[in-house]
């Protein structure tokens, strides 16, 4: 991606960091996310990549690097909850088949996603940008 930029061009990356799930409530939701993260590691997905973006861009020679992370706070029955219901439903077989998450954890999580009284946060979307030298 950096090689594709003109001198002085800008690279903008937005990637997730699942730091907020480490304090998710209630405990069964936290347990769901622990299983999700164990599954994702097995599948080669890095859900903590957000925190690595700035040093990576610096090591690759970009300048003017800065960034922020934004975390949606959402409740059950919201768009974010709908996103997770869609995602977990699609992956349900793979998640349970991996042995990292069981049926009860999945069912509990989906029930919270349908409960408008449940509030939570999941992903710190980390936006980092930098410029190629020159330009």
């Amino acid at each position: 991606m950096i090689a594709s930029l003109k001198a002085g061009g800008a690279l903008l990356l937005i990637e997730p960091d699942f730091l907020p799930v480490s304090v998710a409530e209630p405990p069964e939701v936290r347990a769901f996310w622990e299983g999700w993260l164990a599954w994702s590691r097995d599948r080669g997905i890095d859900y903590f990549i957000g925190r690595t973006l700035a040093p990576r861009l610096a090591s690759l020679g970009l300048t003017n690097i800065s960034g922020t992370a934004e975390t949606a706070i959402y409740n059950g029955d919201s768009l974010w909850a709908e996103y997770w219901i869609e995602t977990i439903t699609e992956l349900r077989g793979d998640l349970i088949g991996s042995g990292k998450i069981d049926e009860a954890l999945v069912n509990n999580f989906l029930a919270y996603c349908a409960d408008s009284n449940w509030w939570t946060q999941t992903i710190a979307f980390t936006a980092v940008h930098g410029r190629t030298p020159g330009g």
């Binding site: 991606m1 950096i2 090689a3 594709s4 930029l5 003109k6 001198a7 061009g9 800008a10 690279l11 903008l12 990356l13 937005i14 990637e15 997730p16 599948r43 080669g44 997905i45 890095d46 859900y47 990549i49 690595t52 973006l53 990576r56 861009l57 690759l60 934004e70 949606a72 768009l79 974010w80 709908e82 996103y83 869609e86 995602t87 439903t89 699609e90 992956l91 793979d94 979307f125 936006a127 940008h129």
Partner: protein, 119 residues
């Protein structure tokens, strides 16, 4: 060619991508705007364009005279077609799209899936 964990062929993938666009495009566009590089005549590249919502916005903003290039492993869920929006099916890990030609390169929720994460 590598594959997504959640492939575009899955029944719910179009809806999932639409939800992601609705939830995350406002943030993404705000950051792009703040960079000040997307203007008429500019060339932009979006890697992992999904349903193409960001690239469609970029194509409108770089017009007239500019081009938005949208790259993905799978372009089957792209719903927008504009004269200055170039869709390319490619694997970014295989190498740069074009060397030294873009004013902006952006990607969202892409690197986490790549084995080496190299921007």
């Amino acid at each position: 060619m590598p594959e997504y964990v959640l492939g575009h062929h899955l029944k719910g993938e179009g809806k999932r991508l639409a939800l992601m666009s609705e939830l995350l495009d406002p943030m993404h566009l705000r950051y792009i705007d703040a960079l000040g590089v997307v203007r008429p005549g500019a060339r932009t590249l979006e890697v992992g364009c999904g349903n193409g919502s960001i690239s469609a916005w970029l194509a409108e903003r770089v017009s007239p005279g500019g081009t938005a290039v949208a790259v993905d492993l799978d372009l089957s869920l792209i719903q927008v077609h504009l004269p200055n929006l170039e869709l390319r099916q490619a694997d970014i890990v295989a190498g740069p799209v074009e060397r030294g030609t873009f004013d902006l390169v952006t990607a969202r929720a892409v690197l986490l899936m790549l084995p080496m994460h190299k921007p």
